[in-house]
Symmetry: C2
Subunit: 627 residues, 2 copies
């Protein structure tokens, strides 16, 4: 099955790229952008910077983990069947040492620095690339190299107490076990997970919590430390738990996930509150301006949620994956696919600079085409390439659509086309193209904002009587019945823009509200800070008003055209009433209350957060002070 | 004159340690603690860790800038006449190379790394130690070594474009010029200031702004980057400006100071909002929880304000020095002088751990006896040692008391004793002990909270008619008149506790208030978080109520004794009415408004911020959500 995660057991069975084909739409357009632009963009930059040349024994360039970017790109190429795969894979394979070791930075000086060397991290990405190739197009010189590399890791590390400062190898080894059935890979992964936090690594300045080595995995209360490391380790732990039937370990990760989502996760799904250590903060430490919310941590969070969904069937995991995909992962690349956010703050006070070269750091307020630590672009490349794998799952009785997006799904004789403009529209139609003779169900996840209070139009059926869906838990279920080609079932999710308030313990956004519509978080964006966002206070007495892209484009709303974008992005903007309260300077930012400032009424236009920053330097805020 | 800063011109002339003698009281007790405990504590740790042994060619230990800690301790010993000075100084002097170069880390490998080497930074602290010795007790082998070292720096760096990644040498060289009259030291300092920002250093990951090399000093709009570096550079720039009569440069620093105090400075006077790069943030980026507010940045801010006060006579600089001394510098050491805060946040959610050994990092929630980067303890040692230098200044017509604290001041035939329990009491009496035959004035700075709106008892005089002070600008002026020994003049500053509100642009504390009383910022401290500070909302309808230490000690208030402390610390606590609103967990920290939580009324006890963290692990907050 062409899916990055194929557990041997679990409540839900994944459907792979061979079962789900994306049509043009929010998700399909991103996969197309990946195939047409992002993959090539990454290839060009890594060629130019010598990261590919490293495999040809050219003078070593880039950071110690640069190899992993090449592997993530190979993985992206494998998922998309990119014709450049063979040449790049051949370059990589040629650099492998006879015993299977493969690392362009540490060759000849292996395994001296587990804290920062990233050797097993790189090996993990190599393995994932090989697995992707194997599952999409069968064995290949790269898959041979991957087995050799994994065997070398097992020989070297099966005994002892060493782990890598950056988790990643764990989930890679489990997947290789799933593919090959070789138990040693699973056992090696299990040991890497169990060794952590005893501790196994040195007490660095950032503390052992940085690499999740402060406490054993199954005893942690929440995710902490470096957010990407935390997500990757949790993915590996879930994989190990599922394959070893370790219910305690799975329950531990679920509890950590619950704690983290309830107290340490930004509205966008972003994880990691601190630039220092690129790390989680304390509970309720969720600053919008200094949110790090690294793109890769968001991708890791989606990977983890997907694993937990498969293992447990709880739609809560798909809810969070949706939030993160639409509001964090989708926000990182520019609309043209040629520059990327590394950090994804929810508030930008000062318009950023447009970076045109390699950024030496994780900028917050502007995208860059490449980074010295460039994990995010290639991570997006492989994630967009494998998006079909996240759409739907199967059980013996039918299929479950977790993410409504235009696509065709085939499983076990049932083929349906999902027709929707989601997330712009809440209408989701499922058209049966091919059907087996036995009864099946088709279900659609109801996001929390649609499944909460009863809502007019919440669960409208447009089909004949017996096609009316049944609400079961957090899903709308059609069937179980025998389907006929041509039949259409439909649901209408309520898409009105709504206010969202923070828990009072989130100190950093006290007194503010945000706006969401469907799965999208909105934000105010002000190019060159022309509308001074520091002085705006929104009026909660009137609900947010919607303006569709069509209205905007037609000029009917007396406005400039909406942001351009892929043709199927019928962007919906939102407007709220607000006032501007200009503040003077009184010499200190703290004072007794002064004169009430003059107020000006204004209409504040909000755009989907994932689209901000595509029109030059701007200020931005998701959380809006409320009067 | 025994003062760290002796400009050749300026509106006010400093008074040195030879003119101001501290009596027991808030300031005097801290100087005594320094002499009795802190200096010895630093000496012990540096001996134990080998930082002193480095000068004896023992295997090199500690960070690349460890020498500077020894120099700061020598400076502290010089200001206090510590008998251990000679031995330590001899150890240092013996390590000097024949041409004057002295650095235990880079000997034999000089000047290879201007970004991180800290060689000129260390040389600057060596020079300051020598200047302190020279001004308090005359020439010494160390002062010879200092001239030799400074001459070596001038020979090596007078031409070229190099600067040190950490400013410090600039102000040291100017002071050596002031002491010796050797113009080359001033010229070298001037060139170091002017070279910066052209740029002179490499573009590191944190950016050149980290070491103020992004823009020339006189063109910056605000202080930015690493806060300690910014303060030290600004000190050097003011010193250069004063000695070269460079009005443009002085005006530039004044403008940067105004911008920074108005938009980038915490209520405690703390500077530096970010842990990343230990740096200033953007305007109004002032998070209470992640405030870095390094102790050394506070000390640097006091040093800068002192220089600007001398140059311009503006009491605004003394106001800020007072805020910073009472609420940041005084907060760093534990009451016993044996452990220190490095970072000084205004909100601590999770009780810290008690550190008993060298801390590898700048903890936020607990003091440590020593740090791997241990700049703060020795900086406190030299600052407390030189506190008398900050109390008062002179002009030809009299003396100006900027900081009321129990002390005796002698200048030009006039000797007065300042009698006060400030900051606990607002009564300040000035008793004349000795007087010249010609008329003089004595003035007392009125802090903004005392000088603002007319206030009953604001300017009460207790003396005969002609001793009634006159308000002139932001000072109360007694005289100008011929004084007689035994005469007493007095003022009463209004000390009622008051609410303070943040500028609405300080997003991080929107909806909160703080409490101040006199110069002190107060905070709620909850040992082991017994009063759950995340759930408390204060009631602004009733003013904060005061409880003095006497009341608390006598048990009259039905309460446990106040925090213990030096005998002259008649600690005043403050109580505010509040309610507790317990919050549940709803699975996400953002939601539609739920049930109104049950409320419990409670009295929230506040303590002066500078005393927090002396009673074991605790949560703490300065900014209190208001209902």
């Amino acid at each position: 099955m062409a899916n990055p995660v194929v557990p041997s057991s679990g409540v839900l069975t994944p459907l792979g790229l061979d079962a789900v084909r994306l049509d043009p739409g929010f998700w399909g357009d991103r996969r197309t952008l990946d195939q047409d632009v992002i993959i090539g963009h990454c290839l060009e930059w890594m060629d130019k910077l010598g990261w590919i040349g490293n495999f040809r024994s050219e003078p070593r360039r880039g950071r110690e983990f640069a190899d992993s970017e090449v592997y993530k790109l190979l993985e992206a190429m494998a998922w998309t069947g990119d014709r450049r795969f063979d040449e790049l894979a051949a370059t990589v394979v040629a650099a492998q040492e006879p015993d299977g070791y493969l690392n362009t930075r540490w060759s000849g000086d292996r395994y001296r620095d587990f804290e920062w060397g990233h050797e097993l991290y790189c090996a993990g990405h190599l393995i994932q690339a090989g697995v992707a190739r194997w599952r999409t197009a069968g064995e290949h010189p790269l898959t041979d190299a991957v087995r050799l590399a994994a065997d070398q890791v097992c020989r070297r590390f099966m005994e002892g107490h060493e782990v890598c400062g950056h988790p990643e190898i764990e989930m890679a080894l489990v997947e290789l076990y799933r593919l090959t059935g070789a138990e040693r890979y699973l056992e090696m992964a299990r040991r890497f997970v169990e060794r952590r936090g005893r501790p196994a690594l040195a007490d660095i300045e950032l503390g052992r919590a940085y690499f999740q080595d402060d406490v054993p995995v199954r005893r942690a209360a929440a995710f902490g430390g470096h957010a990407v490391r935390a997500m990757y380790l949790a993915c590996g732990a879930v994989d190990v738990a599922v394959e070893t039937r370790d219910a305690e370990l799975l329950a531990a990760i679920e509890a950590q996930w619950e704690h983290t989502v309830a107290r340490r996760t930004h509205l966008t799904g972003g994880m990691g509150s601190r630039h220092t250590g690129e790390s989680f903060g304390e509970d309720f430490e969720l600053p919008p301006d200094r949110a790090y919310a690294e793109t890769c941590a968001g991708i890791g969070s989606v990977m983890l949620a997907h694993r937990l969904l498969l293992a447990t069937g709880r739609s809560r995991y798909a809810d969070q994956a949706e939030r993160t995909l639409y509001n964090l992962v989708a926000a990182s690349p520019a609309l043209d696919g040629r520059s990327f956010f590394y950090a994804n703050p929810l508030h930008v006070r000062t318009p950023g600079r447009v970076a045109e070269d390699v950024s030496p750091r994780a900028e917050s307020a502007s995208r860059a085409p490449w980074f010295q630590v460039s994990c995010c672009p290639t991570n997006l490349a492989r994630t967009f390439a494998s998006l079909p794998a996240y759409v739907a799952t199967a059980t013996p009785g039918g299929i479950q659509i977790h993410h409504p997006t235009a696509c065709e799904i085939s499983h076990d004789g049932l083929t349906v086309r999902v027709e929707t403009l989601y997330p712009w529209s809440g209408s989701v139609a499922v058209r049966v193209l091919e059907a087996p003779a036995d009864p099946r169900h088709v279900s659609l996840r109801l996001p929390p904002w649609a499944a909460g209070a009863p809502h007019p139009g919440d669960t409208v059926s447009r089909g004949p009587e017996d096609l009316t869906p049944v609400r079961r838990g957090s899903a709308l279920v059609f069937g179980e019945r025998v389907w006929a080609p041509g039949e259409v079932v439909a649901a209408e999710l309520p898409m009105e823009a709504r206010w969202v308030r923070p828990d009072p313990r989130v100190d950093a956004v006290r007194g503010c509200v945000a706006v969401e519509r469907g799965p999208l978080v909105y934000c105010a964006e002000s190019p060159r800070d022309e509308v001074r966002l520091a002085e705006v206070v929104v009026d909660l007495s009137r609900p947010p008003a919607e303006r569709t892209g069509d209205e905007l484009r037609s000029g009917a709303a007396g406005d400039a055209p909406a942001h351009d974008g892929p043709p199927h992005d019928g962007v919906v903007r939102v407007e709220v009433r607000a006032s501007r309260r200009p503040e003077g300077d009184n010499g200190r930012p703290y004072a007794e209350a002064g004169d009430t400032p003059r107020e000006e009424e204004l209409t504040l236009r909000l755009v989907p957060y994932h689209r901000w920053g595509n029109h030059g330097p701007a200020t931005m805020r998701v959380w809006l002070p409320a009067g």
